[in-house]
Symmetry: C2
Subunit: 122 residues, 2 copies
Amino acid sequence: MGNLYRFVEPVVLLLLKKKGRSYGYDLSGELHKHALTDAEIERAALYRTLRQLEVNGNVVSEWETDDSGPARRVYRLTAQGERHLEEWATVLEHVSKSMNRFVRDTKNLLNGKTSRKKARPA
Amino acid sequence: MGNLYRFVEPVVLLLLKKKGRSYGYDLSGELHKHALTDAEIERAALYRTLRQLEVNGNVVSEWETDDSGPARRVYRLTAQGERHLEEWATVLEHVSKSMNRFVRDTKNLLNGKTSRKKARPA
DNA sequence: GGCTCTACGTGCGATGTGCATCTATTTCGC
DNA sequence: GCGAAATAGATGCACATCGCACGTAGAGCC
């Protein structure tokens, strides 16, 4: 898995795939809707993640000055970025299953269950 | 959630609950069976996590010199540690669901699906 | 002209991580 | 009986990461 980045990276990749193209300030308003934890995602973390994704060739950016307001650095996924998103999905699918197992095991232990399933008593 | 510790903390709590009492070197051999990611869990991280758990009152330890071999620092959960484990289960259940949603969304996007479900073509 | 909103960042101290290393005791091979 | 390996716990340090604060700048508003 390498680094966690508080799972900012995969969410950014997904959002970029979904929107086609976008920029930091815009993404920051939608990140929480797809976030994997309820921890707030810092703007600083977002900007740094985007730059890192570009350094690694997963996205490319260009300045957009046409519209109103300050210039925007607009990002879009590269082909490699799409593969990277797919890899994240594979990894997170695996982690999700592990977490489910953890939750099941924990609940069984804390409720003092044996291995058989049984309806909860009133 | 606070800190992630590469998810060492919750796994240690679960193992301690399961085994009743144990010590670092013993736990290190079983951690990978319950680990949430396939990243190797460093011994250093384990020892430091155990100490941190004790500082926060989630476990208590005592030296055991009776048996063969070098002295062992044997840990067991406190009542607070059990609650902490339960909290972890709640958090991870939530994260697991978020990850599942992420995986579903990603696969739909990458396969170019619309919203309807459909059997895979051969 | 000043205030607010949009937009992109950086600086820096605090914390966390990985790798290597250290100490000490016991057991095993021979 | 002696050295090697296993058991057991822990630290040192360089480096990465994180959160918070701060900095810069253009556009629109009144």
